[in-house]
């Protein structure tokens, strides 16, 4: 077995699938033998592959990366909409729900036909929704490229589902909520975000508030509106990575996506005002549990220019990597927690630096909290050594480089940075910015953001009977 203590993921995967008449060539076997001869960590650009970018007349961006995976391609459709776009009250969870509806077919390729096509291709196909973006992804034989472009363009342009299908799918969403609901992590994220945000849509998690999920069957009309607003070429990108012919790709994309009509909707995402005092919440958990602690500090949005934001990616490591003094103290020496981590997710709008810990005993909650706060104080008052900072930078680079070992992860990376900034090359700017960060930058950033009035604390313990 493999341990996955952090079993609740913010990214929500939909189970969807599968397609068709072309057969994968035998050479697909050899796909694992990637020839990453350009793959070197000591180069100027952290992303070692060339990204081709073509923008069609209707605004659709096509990003492609030749990658040595003989016979295989990864095909992503990136939509720059996620739970962040759920601006109307009562509509939380809708971006994710909509992702499910995208598998319900069109007139040309009804649901079952779409599934049969994918099944025959033996493709690995799925989708996920996050706070900022939604992605539909397929890994399949290179020979299937035209088939994939055909069926994918068709559903993005001509999606059609009945109210009955819509209501049935709402049941699957509730099922997805239920499968996560036994995990304290879902409850912790729900409470932390709900408390930390007053105005911005990051107030809710991607799966949405339970009350809104229960009301989903009644929101058929809104679903049509959502599609009309966001599933438009200027808000999307196609990402293709692997073994393909660039000219043929562009020709096919123009042929199949060329008639997709541009939209004009501009979402107004409410701006979160600065937090002025510490917020505290508690979750009484029914049934036995170890206590959990979650702490969130407001931080700036993703940026390749803002040193303070980039500094948080290093602060996460300085505080919570396995070599961090705080981690060593709490996990290895005192053994007060069996799990602790920090995370500063890349977000389009200002989100949170989140700390999560599972504590071995309720009586230790305050001690753990104090150790975390002490480590943060130290970060504010004592410059971190250059050696340590260099180790963190090295870790970030090697970790990134090692993740790019298959077409799917390369396509994910390109999609991720595209949705954040509109330009996937921003990944290179980000790592170049890391290089410039000094111990003083870390100190100043910690002093500015890691303050009591800027934080929210949530605890979860067994309900007292």
């Amino acid at each position: 077995m493999i341990f996955d203590i952090f079993s609740f993921q913010i990214k929500i995967k939909t189970n969807t699938q599968t397609k068709f008449e072309t057969k994968m060539k035998k050479s697909i076997f050899l796909v694992m033998m990637l020839l990453l001869s350009t793959f070197s960590v000591a180069q100027n650009k952290i992303f070692p592959f060339k990204i081709n970018k073509v923008v069609l007349d209707n605004g659709l961006t096509v990003l492609s990366v030749p990658f040595d995976s003989p016979g295989i391609i990864a095909y992503y459709t990136v939509v720059r909409a996620g739970s962040r776009n759920e601006v109307e009250p009562g509509k939380s969870g809708f971006a994710h729900f909509f992702e499910h509806m995208m598998f319900r077919g069109t007139e040309k390729y009804p649901e079952q036909v779409y599934n049969d096509i994918l099944k025959r291709l033996g493709a690995d196909s799925n989708a996920f929704t996050t706070a900022d973006w939604t992605a539909y992804h397929i890994v399949a034989s290179s020979d299937a490229l035209e088939t994939i472009i055909d069926i994918e363009s068709d559903r993005f342009m001509n999606l059609k589902y009945t109210e009955e299908q819509f209501k049935t799918e709402a049941g699957a969403i509730l099922g997805e909520y239920n499968k996560s609901a036994s995990s304290p992590f879902l409850a912790l994220y729900e409470k932390l975000q709900d408390l930390a945000f007053t105005t911005h849509t990051y107030k809710h998690t991607t799966i949405g508030f339970l009350k809104d999920i229960l009301d989903m069957p009644n929101q058929y009309d809104y679903s049509l509106k959502f599609f009309d607003r966001y599933y438009r070429p200027e808000n999307c990108a196609i990402v293709v990575v692997g073994d393909f012919d660039q000219n043929k790709l562009i020709q096919l994309v123009k042929k199949y996506y060329g008639n997709w009509k541009r939209g004009n909707y501009k979402p107004e995402i409410p701006v979160e005002p600065p937090q002025t005092e510490e917020k505290v919440g508690h979750i009484p958990w029914k049934g036995k549990t170890l206590p959990y602690l979650a702490i969130g500090y407001h931080i700036p949005e993703f940026s390749t220019k803002n040193v303070e934001r980039a500094a948080f990616d290093l602060i996460v490591e300085l505080l919570f990597s396995k070599t961090a003094p705080l981690y060593q103290k709490l996990v290895i020496e005192k053994q007060w927690v069996d799990f602790i981590n920090g995370d500063a997710p890349d977000r389009r709008d200002p989100f949170l630096f989140i700390i999560m810990a599972r504590i071995k005993n309720e009586s230790l909650i305050d001690s753990v909290k104090n150790e975390i706060f002490n480590a943060i104080e130290e970060l504010k008052t004592k410059p971190v050594s250059k050696k340590r900072l260099d180790e963190v930078k090295s870790y970030l680079k090697y970790s990134f480089a090692m993740s790019l070992d298959n077409p799917n992860s390369v396509a994910y990376t390109v999609g991720h940075y595209f949705q954040l900034t509109g330009d996937p090359e921003s990944v290179n700017e980000l790592y170049a910015l890391y290089d410039k960060i000094t111990p003083q930058d870390i100190m100043k950033t910690a002093q500015k953001y890691l303050t009591p009035q800027n934080r929210t604390i949530v605890t979860l313990t067994e309900e007292k009977k």
Binding site: M1, S7, T18, L35, R120, K167, T168, A181, S182, K288
Partner: protein, 497 residues
């Protein structure tokens, strides 16, 4: 053409050798330009080797190596060395084998190998690490799965339930009492007994320096020679009718798993026929399966419904099976993801009825062909990285078969729909099944099941008449649930001993 291009572009070398003067087996997958190097050290020891009363000893031993220190370096120092390279050391432990996995960029291969091999050859066995690792396993049982993951709890409980009285009964992560009984001395003894040259396969993949192979042979020949005797596996106990284990827990939905042992694994030719039947019935995390289409697709009763013909663990965020969990004995299972409590009776009826239909009617020629085509293509995607391919190669050796992915390509085209339908009849059944449900008010679930009272469901929107007609049959479907075949266990007692 493409194959030719490949040959000219790369020299890929795969070899299996037994070193001279050393019994250590080395599995190589050499790809000179591949910058990430993977080690997979497989020890042919698992929870079946745990002594009675010390369940979890194998798991804890593996943790003491993979998450411990070396004679030279403390765990903290190991972490400090690995960190700037972003090198990873992972581990898996299962019923019959365990694996310690290392991954590093080739820039740091020499230094990394020294630490990695020292962790296995010269482990520190530190008291503090022992306490921490034991807590990790105990908390996995007490907090992670009992509290936070009803589905995993149900699946793990099903395996123990299916294999009662069999060496597979004890969970691979141990039991609370078993773990509490283990001392550091036990770990040292276990290590001495099972970490022998004949019991280990060292897998290596990527663009490693060839000289490393000699070094591995030399270093690992320091382990004691020989191979411990393999634990004999008796036939699993026969299941009589429907046998239920209901786990009582305060939860908002019901997670259901059911299954029974099957006498074949990858080394048997019928496995490949059954693979097609299973994919048609419930391919993992796809919409292909009948179960998925009918329970989720048509009725929206939950998030997913799948079936398996061997123990299955998903590899991270992918949908593919993790390598290196081979087992001599396998089981068929169905995983029903959490359903609303009010629908728990209906869904169990529906799933078992679908199994009955499968057993009685088999696949049509058309379904057989489309499913076979799917598997022929899909299985090639299981090995997209060298790391995964190496794992599959090692498993194939373990089963004594040619490379599994190649074998699928050879076996499936030979099959006919009759072969598949005969295999279904021979190995699957719908009457003798063990069923686990994690649920609230288990007693009332039991009463409902025993009474066989109708269990109608309602929809928020009109559904087609054909579905409503089928629902009428499902809601009356008789399950042979007898009161004496139920056990209701509070969640706190699961995996206690």
């Amino acid at each position: 053409m493409r194959a030719k291009k490949l040959i000219t572009l790369m020299i890929l070398f795969s070899a299996f050798s037994i070193a001279q003067n050393s019994e250590i087996r080395i599995k190589e997958l050499y790809s000179p330009n591949y910058p990430i190097i993977t080690f997979r050290v497989m020890i042919e020891t698992g929870s079946i080797n745990d002594p009675k009363g010390k369940e979890g000893l194998n798991a804890l031993t593996i943790l003491m190596l993979a998450q411990g220190g070396t004679k030279e370096l403390t765990y903290k120092e190991v972490q400090e060395k690995l960190y700037p390279w972003a090198a990873r050391i992972n581990y898996q432990f299962d019923k019959e084998v365990s694996v310690i996995i290392g991954e590093v960029h080739r820039d740091h291969i020499e230094k990394f190998y020294k630490i990695f091999s020292d962790l296995i050859l010269n482990p520190r066995f530190d008291e503090g690490d022992f306490k921490r690792n034991k807590d990790l396993l105990l908390n996995y049982i007490k907090a992670t799965i009992r509290t936070g993951n009803d589905e995993e709890l149900g699946k793990q409980a099903l395996v123990s339930f299916i294999y009662e009285g069999h060496p597979y009964q004890s969970p691979e992560f141990g039991t609370v009492q078993g773990l509490n009984n283990i001392t550091l001395e036990d770990v040292k003894e276990f290590y001495k007994r099972y970490f022998t040259q004949g019991n280990i396969v060292f897998g290596i993949a990527g663009g490693y320096p060839k000289s490393l192979i000699q070094r591995i042979k030399k270093d690992f020949s320091k382990l004691p020679p020989g191979k411990p005797e393999q634990v004999e596996l008796p036939e699993p106990k026969r299941i009589n009718g429907l046998e239920f284990l209901l786990i009582e827990k305060e939860t908002r939905s019901t997670a259901i798993s059911f299954g029974f042992p099957i006498p074949i694994n990858r080394s048997h030719k019928d496995f490949y026929a059954l693979m097609i039947a299973n994919s048609y019935f419930g391919e993992h995390r796809t919409f292909n399966g009948i179960l998925m289409q009918k329970i989720r697709g048509q009725r929206g009763l939950n998030y997913g419904d799948y079936s398996y013909i061997e123990h299955f663990v998903q590899d991270g965020g992918s949908t593919f099976p993790v390598p290196n969990i081979p087992r001599r004995h396998q089981y068929f299972s169905v995983w029903i993801r959490p359903v609303e409590n009010k629908n728990r009776h209906f869904v169990l009826r529906q799933a078992i009825r679908e199994l009955e239909i499968l057993v009685k009617n088999g696949l049509s020629k058309e379904d057989f062909e489309s499913t076979r085509e799917f598997l022929l293509n899909y299985s090639k995607l299981w090995v997209q990285t060298l790391n995964r391919r190496l794992g599959y190669m090692m498993d194939s050796d373990w089963y004594g078969i040619e490379y599994f992915i190649d074998k699928i390509q050879k076996e499936l085209p030979k099959l006919t729909v009759e072969d598949v339908n005969n295999a279904i009849k021979k190995y699957l059944n719908f009457e003798n099944i063990k069923i686990v449900a994690v649920t609230k008010d288990a007693n009332s679930y039991m009463q409902d099941l025993v009474s066989n009272k109708p269990s109608p469901i309602s929809y928020v929107s009109p559904v087609s008449q054909s579905i409503l007609d089928e629902d009428k049959i499902i809601q009356e479907y008789k399950l042979n649930a007898k009161l004496e075949n139920f056990r209701i266990v509070p969640v706190d007692e699961i995996f206690e001993k």
